[in-house]
């Protein structure tokens, strides 16, 4: 198991280099010349040229990339074009907020989704099952920007029990986390249900029954562990979608997280900031995938890393 984790960690290195590659070259495709942007309107040709020289923008692309890569590994993500602050400092302020939001959202996705899926699967085609699955269908269909606003309207404006926006206390986390986690919960619920129904038909469940085990133990010990294997994959994928969702949800609830930072940076054409933000979002994703693989392996020891 330890070997597996170690090898899996080593495997992320080429992935991370790949990420820097993609992030760097996508930025090259963005229209507009950063030197012109930085120099401001009406700057002389000489000034622009000087800036270009200073930033190394007149070097060949592969040298620029190589320099970018070395500075990234040194922890230097450049300075913001907007306020000349180091990009890394800004990210380190914003990152914990987004991680906190993502953490609570994925908890909602997992707990709510699996619970709903199990409840449905235990009594398939019952009224409970049909209602739970109907809610899940709604959860998948509702766009998060609308759902977030509706939650805000009911709980903050009408009932006034939760704060409207901002990020000061745990109370502030509730609505954004629900908004962000709901869609995933719905998908996880449907996946858990179908996976459980599949597993309950298997021969080894019959064996467990023939052993005289209680229905509870059959469901939670014998069926669930097997049913969770595909669900873990879905949760991992959902986390990717969730990271994308933070951009929207942070904007709706005025949360100063990484997602909102990227949106603002794009609006300002603050390229180093965008680059740094996207890089970190990708890193989170890589790390989460690592965890998913380790969990997967834990639940299903048949998986061998080749």
């Amino acid at each position: 198991m330890l070997m597996f984790i170690l090898r899996r960690i080593l495997q992320t290195i080429p992935v991370i280099i790949g990420v820097t590659f993609v992030v760097f070259f996508i930025m090259q495709l963005v229209p507009g010349d950063p030197a012109v942007l930085l120099a401001g309107e009406g700057a002389s040709k000489e000034t622009i040229e000087a800036i270009r020289d200073q930033l190394g923008l007149n070097q060949p692309l592969y040298i620029q990339y190589f320099e970018y890569l070395t500075s990234v590994f040194k922890g230097d993500l450049g300075v913001s074009l907007k306020n000349s602050q180091p990009v890394l400092d800004e990210i380190l302020v914003r990152l914990p907020i987004t991680i906190e939001l993502a953490f609570f959202s994925i908890i909602i996705t997992i707990v709510l989704g699996m619970a709903a899926g199990i409840i449905s699967a235990v009594k398939p085609y019952s009224l409970t099952d049909v209602s739970v699955m109907l809610v899940a269908l709604l959860g998948i269909s509702l766009p998060s920007f609308w759902f977030g606003l509706m939650l805000m309207y009911f709980f903050s404006v009408k009932l006034q029990i939760l704060p409207v926006a901002g990020w000061d206390s745990l109370l502030h986390v509730i609505l954004p986390a629900i908004t962000l986690g709901a869609g995933g919960a719905a998908i996880v619920a449907r996946m858990t249900r179908s996976s459980m129904l599949e597993v309950i038909r298997q021969d080894y469940i019959r064996t467990a029954r023939a052993k005289g085990l209680r229905e509870r133990i059959i469901i939670y010990k014998h069926a669930l562990r097997n049913a969770l294997i595909p669900v873990i994959t879905v949760v991992g994928l959902q986390f990717g979608a969730l990271l994308g969702g933070t951009v929207l949800v942070e904007s709706i609830f005025a949360i100063n997280g990484l997602g909102r930072m990227i949106v603002d940076a794009i609006r300002m054409r603050d390229l180093p900031m965008v680059q740094g933000g996207v890089l970190f979002a990708s890193l989170i994703f890589v790390v989460v995938n690592l965890f998913v693989d380790v969990f997967y392996r834990f639940f299903n020891k048949r998986i061998e890393l080749n």
Partner: protein, 338 residues
């Protein structure tokens, strides 16, 4: 009847029906048999004749819906399993009556170590502690002939071969020393050498524990080797019930005769394998008369019209066939048709 002669399991008129969109399928349609301590009863018949459903019905493991025990009783030590409350039934499953299934590859939970799969039954039924149950399950693995059992107990099924998995299944079934073991085609999925080993093992453990065994199989070789008496099933009914010697030496029912006839004979030069003409009737649309009539070489008018009962031919032979009743005319025999 003397106490020691009382059967440990007595199945009377057991019916298991499946209700589906196509109608009611009578998978098991009124069967009777008894099993004594230390005895092995073989239930034979071709695929779909209801033998597996019979065994699942005894433990009430029929997938429901669509399946349902529609009638009859299963008396185990005098108590009826069919009407017993579910929580009492659970105490019997895996404890007093155990089962081995056909598919060792899929019958073990793929993500739970095999030792734990044996130990959980011990903790449940024998109220053993964690450590004691684990030690006992290692002992069981040793008893069924698995080398280095303490190491194997910690492994998951995918790390074991098919033969070893079936041994694990047997260890699991026997862990609580049951009084009845139902073995549903225990060797079908295994290759021939392993087959012999597994049958030997079941026999050996049977003498050790003294349990009654119901051996469900379509393999007449398995019957010859292991069973004391045989019930031959056809289309949800028992058509013949007799001692193993009797069945092989002098089968009464035309279907049993056909079955034995269709065995390839090693000492004869056979060009073609002998088969029974026709096919099994659909369980959704059973004929009103004898279910074998359409395939039977002796069939008379009465066969298609009325279902015969399972009646005693002699002290230990029961047969479900008009041929052995006084209603039989023997017309076709006389005409020289057969």
């Amino acid at each position: 009847m003397k106490e020691s002669n009382r059967p440990i399991l007595e199945v009377k008129g057991l019916k298991t029906h499946f209700t589906t969109k196509r109608g009611v399928s009578k998978a098991v349609d009124g069967i009777d048999f008894t099993l004594h301590k230390g005895e092995t009863l073989g239930i034979v018949g071709e695929s779909g004749c209801g033998k597996s459903m019979t065994s699942l019905s005894i433990l009430r493991l029929i997938p429901s819906p669509p399946g349902k025990i529609a009638g009859g009783s299963v008396l185990f030590k005098g108590r009826d399993l069919v009407t017993m409350p579910e929580d009492e039934m659970r105490k019997i499953r895996g404890n007093e009556i155990s089962m081995i299934f056909q598919e060792p590859m899929t019958s073990l939970n793929p993500v739970i170590p095999v030792g734990e799969q044996i130990a959980e039954a011990l903790r449940l039924h024998q109220k053993m502690g964690k450590k004691a149950a684990w030690d006992k399950s290692v002992d069981m693995l040793k008893m069924v002939g698995i080398p280095s059992p303490d190491k194997r107990a910690k492994q998951e099924p995918f790390q074991l071969s098919g033969g070893m998995r079936q041994r694990v299944m047997i260890a699991m079934a026997l862990a609580c020393t049951p009084e009845v073991l139902i073995a549903d085609e225990p060797t079908t999925a295994l290759d021939v050498t392993i087959q012999a080993q597994i049958l030997e093992l079941i026999k050996e453990l049977q003498t050790k524990i003294g349990m009654g065994v119901i051996m469900i199989t379509h393999d007449l070789g398995v019957v010859a080797e292991t069973c004391d008496k045989v019930a031959v099933m056809y289309a949800g009914n028992i058509v013949e019930h007799a001692s193993t010697e009797q069945i092989f030496a002098d089968p009464k029912h035309p279907y049993t005769q056909g079955l034995l006839n269709s065995l390839p004979k090693i000492h004869e030069d056979q060009e073609e394998l002998i088969t029974i003409d026709g096919s099994v009737p659909s369980p959704y649309n059973m004929p009103g008369g004898c279910r074998f009539a359409s395939r039977c070489p002796y069939a008379e008018d009465i066969c298609a019209a009325h279902q015969p009962d399972l009646v005693s031919y002699s002290e230990d032979i029961k047969v479900r066939c008009w041929k052995y009743t006084d209603k039989w005319t023997g017309k076709r025999d006389k005409e020289g048709v057969v």
